[in-house]
């Protein structure tokens, strides 16, 4: 067994920042991560970090833009904290040596980004995430913070009082990918989940293969609600074969979208008569899919993004990396042919429900980064707002876990007297339940709470037994089959376009996946670097996460932010200024709602029609 004050799960931007903060607060902290830190997905971010740094800008404007962008589903205390803390956190990165792009006078540059009333996106070329990740890892090395890399966290060690609000988290169980050894990691002060997004729930995503929602699923099964999971952002320009992202910059520079008939459909088919290709992400994504659905897609699958007319000089000057991406990942030369693009899953606005101090309803369990929902993005995230979230809330979670007093949180978490129960929706199948043996899931192993160590030991034993079972079994279903089926269902039915019928179909297929998973086995018998075993664990997590996304999408019968419903073409503020929460209750999901907090420090954010 390993023992530390604070255990951080994940080493992307959020995890690294949390670890540094906990270390600075005096804790003995360790990072446990399934990938070496510099392999984390944060490295893929291109655009930049929003922070009100310049004169003429201020945090209140940033908060206002964010509330509006969220389609009034962000919680004001979280949004204001983000806007207030982002400047100092961004400058701290600069002091750590981050190679931000510079102005003539040597100060950091800022550029305009969608939905911002001031050009406040600080950036390092088109590789902001890469630099942010590396700079923070360097600081972790500098401080000698212990990193257990290529250790896969399988579960949490949490006590099992009937009410999740009474439970405590004492550590995690993880498995050394290189040796196959399963061990306990005791956290005497707290566990911070920073495990990233769940993009792999979809067949076509800009996210890394490692983005499997492990933290979401572990917290969920331990009793923490997942919040606003239906809000998934789809990016309109990803490459069809891999999902690699083609930056919005191409359209910004004048790139044009064509359908298979050579029509500039954004105008010719009236999707956005004013802004055309530059309409917001959700509008363009819906337009592209409509073209494909109506038979005007190229190869029935995608549309063309053309930048040839910009001329070689301009392309090389401003969009050089796009040429590389199209060439390397699609085999297309952007100077001589148009590039194929289609919408791809890009970002999850929802996640593990936490307050503005990063704490969940389970004592000692924190979450930060894309896996968490504070919530700052509400129904729709503004480009450039995820990276500041990592550093602002990563730091807060780390400090709080290490014992720093951040004051009473205004955002409430867990089931309580301020929630409203879902009573109306009928589900096509009983979600959850029939699938997986629940003793695998719930935090501890029945019985009254033992001491922390006993609890962790039991959790370790359970995971060891589960690994043995998976490796010993010789026939059955392989995870890849289930995963593909799940991903296809989500892409077919819980994508950009959502209909009640479709979502119900998805829930049925998810249920089938659960049932098939009962018979899953791992073909590779080896304990050495068994990625088959790891992916089998991940697939289980994807099933849980996909189900919460579909449940959220079914109950929210309105059109808000990224959540489009065919039957409901309006934002319904009278009923829906509230968060959806799905929690795992005795092996079945239950749904409840909590009102959005629109009241900020000095003003209340009044919902307005969101137009740009």
């Amino acid at each position: 067994m390993y023992e530390h004050d604070v255990i951080v799960v994940g080493a992307g931007g959020a995890g690294l920042r949390a670890a540094i903060a906990a270390h600075e607060a005096g804790a003995d902290v360790a990072i446990v991560t399934k990938l070496h830190p510099v392999r984390s997905h944060t490295g893929a971010a291109e655009g930049g970090i929003n922070a009100a740094l310049q004169e003429g800008d201020d945090w209140e404007l940033h908060a206002y833009d964010t509330m509006k962008g969220s389609d009034y589903l962000g919680d004001a205390p979280a949004v204001e904290t983000l806007a207030q803390d982002a400047p100092e956190e961004t400058i701290t990165l600069e002091h750590w040596g981050m190679p931000f792009s510079r102005e003539e006078d040597g100060r950091v540059s800022q550029r305009p980004f969608g939905g911002l009333s001031y050009p406040r996106t600080t950036y390092a070329g088109a590789e902001t995430g890469h630099h942010l990740l590396h700079v923070m890892y360097e600081q972790v090395v500098k401080r000698g913070i212990q990193v257990y890399d290529e250790w896969y966290v399988m579960n949490l060690a949490t006590s099992d009082e009937p009410d999740p609000n009474d439970r405590e988290c004492h550590g995690v169980v993880a498995y050394d990918v290189q040796s196959g050894k399963v061990e306990g990691f005791k956290a005497s002060q707290g566990v911070v989940l920073a495990s990233g997004g769940p993009g792999q729930a979809f067949d076509h995503t800009t996210n890394a293969v490692s983005c499997t929602g492990d933290g979401h699923a572990m917290a969920y099964r331990a009793g923490v609600p997942l919040e606003d999971m239906e809000f998934i952002q789809f990016h309109p320009t990803s490459l069809p074969s891999t999902g690699v992202l083609i930056s919005e910059g191409v359209r910004g520079e004048g790139g044009i979208l064509y359908n298979s008939e050579g029509e500039r459909f954004m105008f010719e088919h009236g999707y956005a008569n004013n802004s055309g290709e530059l309409a917001s992400r959700d509008v363009v994504a819906r337009a592209e899919l409509t073209e494909v659905d109506e038979g005007r897609g190229v190869d029935d699958e995608y549309v063309h993004l053309d930048m040839r007319h910009l001329g070689e000089e301009r392309i090389l000057d401003r969009l050089e990396n796009i040429l590389h991406l199209a060439e390397d990942f699609e085999g297309v030369d952007g100077l001589v042919e148009p590039m194929p693009v289609k919408p791809g899953q890009h970002y999850a606005m929802g996640g593990i429900e936490v307050d503005e101090n990063g704490q969940s309803c389970i004592d000692g369990l924190y979450a930060a980064g894309e896996c968490a929902c504070v919530s700052v993005h509400g129904g729709n995230r503004l480009g450039g707002n995820a990276l500041p979230e990592l550093i602002v809330f990563g730091k807060r979670a780390g400090r709080h876990a290490a014992g720093d007093d951040l004051g009473e949180a205004e955002i409430r978490t867990g089931y309580g007297d301020d929630v409203e129960d879902e009573t109306e929706t009928e589900f096509p199948v009983t979600p959850g339940a029939a699938g997986i043996d629940t003793s695998d899931g719930v935090a501890a192993d029945g019985g009254v709470t033992a001491d922390a160590e006993g609890l962790l030991e039991r959790a370790v034993e359970r995971e060891r037994a589960r690994v043995d079972r998976l490796l010993d079994k010789d026939t059955g279903v392989q995870h890849a089959e289930i995963r593909q089926k799940l991903q296809n269902a989500m892409t077919d039915y819980v994508n950009v376009f959502r209909t009640e019928d479709g979502i119900r179909k998805a829930l049925k297929i998810i249920r089938e996946c659960r049932e098939e998973y009962q018979d899953v086995y791992v073909d590779d018998p080896s304990r050495t670097f068994n990625t088959d075993l790891q992916m089998t664990y991940e697939t289980r997590n994807l099933i849980d996460v996909a189900e919460t996304i579909a449940i959220g999408a079914l109950v929210r019968n309105e059109f808000r932010g990224a959540h489009w419903r065919q039957e409901y073409q309006e934002r319904r503020d009278d009923e829906w200024l509230k968060h959806t929460l799905v929690s795992w209750n005795d092996g079945e999901p239950s749904v409840f709602y909590r009102p959005v907090i629109l009241e900020g420090q000095e003003k209340t954010y009044e919902p307005k029609v969101r137009s740009y």
Binding site: R39, G43, A44, V209, T242, D328, P525, T528
Partner: protein, 290 residues
């Protein structure tokens, strides 16, 4: 637990010990209805065509794999397919024990550097159509093999850490004053390429000197040191400290400017040039010449 891989030049592929998926890839496609749906019209011309890949296999724990060998896979071709796509397909459809690192699929995480047709390349960044068949895919040479295409990266990380890879500022203003340090555009341009390293290890694996001298810092670590030594935000004193680390016996002077690192770097970092420049700096500062 791990084995040193045979030298690639002298390595002979055994006679196709297992022809996985080889019987009838076309049938395989028909069976997997979903696959056909995803095939675009463009690829219809290539219907039935497969790519032949030969993949290095080794697992210290599994009897049949203790003796290193090559496995053949025939993967249905799809336009835009990369080497990584091909090995992923082989794993998901034919043999789930096939093991390799990968994550981002977009050349930023640095985890899938393999030895492909005799050259260090990122699997995700290499179009399969550009390669001669059969495509030979092996783990990075000169590194211990853990299993299949996975090599032990510990030595590489140790060398990266040995150059004190973190900014060592002195009197930076307080962040709460929102006062950043200043860096000129020229200086940022100067260090820009060096900051692109994704720690893939391709350069180290291609370097003959590193292969012969286990203590040599290697191109990636020296480049990392360059990134800081040339950054004007660090003081002269620290720069000197950095040069002292670099001019040691197993530092910059070991480099014989063979350019292999520069050739394979997937991020186009002018590694050899950076090493040369550091040598010049060391001379200027009158540091020891080994």
């Amino acid at each position: 637990m791990s084995t040193q891989q045979p030298e690639p030049e002298t390595q002979e592929a055994p006679e196709d010990p297992e022809m996985k998926g080889a019987e009838s890839p076309v049938d395989e496609r028909e069976k997997e209805g979903g696959m056909v749906d995803q095939t675009s019209v463009d690829d219809a011309d290539l219907e039935g065509e497969t790519v032949h890949i030969k993949v290095f296999r080794y697992d210290p724990e599994v009897e049949a794999k203790q003796e290193p060998r090559f496995d053949d896979f025939h993967v249905p071709f799809k336009k835009g397919m990369t080497v990584l796509d091909a090995v992923m397909y082989a794993r998901d459809e034919y043999d789930s024990s096939l093991t390799f690192r990968h994550s981002c699929r977009q050349a930023v995480c640095g985890s899938d550097a393999f030895f492909v047709n005799g050259k260090q390349r990122l699997g995700c960044k290499t179009q399969i159509a550009d390669l001669e068949q059969p495509v030979r895919i092996e783990p990075l040479p000169h590194q211990e093999v853990v299993k299949d295409l996975v090599v032990d990266m510990d030595h590489f990380y140790d060398q990266m850490h040995a150059v004190e890879p973190y900014f060592q500022d002195e009197d930076t203003p307080d962040a709460s004053d929102l006062e950043e340090q200043r860096q000129s555009r020229e200086n940022r341009e100067k260090v820009k390429m060096s900051t692109r390293c994704i720690w893939c290890g391709a350069c180290m694996s291609s370097c003959n000197i590193a292969a012969g001298d286990n203590e040599y810092l290697g191109p990636a670590a020296i480049n990392k040191a360059y990134r800081f030594a040339m950054d004007e935000r660090e003081s002269e004193e620290i720069k000197e400290h950095r040069l002292r680390i670099l001019e040691q016996e197993h530092g910059v002077w070991r480099c014989q400017t063979q350019f292999s690192c520069t050739e394979v770097c997937p991020k186009d970092i002018p590694l050899t040039e950076h090493i040369q420049e550091l040598k010049r700096e060391a001379v200027k500062k009158n540091l020891k010449f080994w």
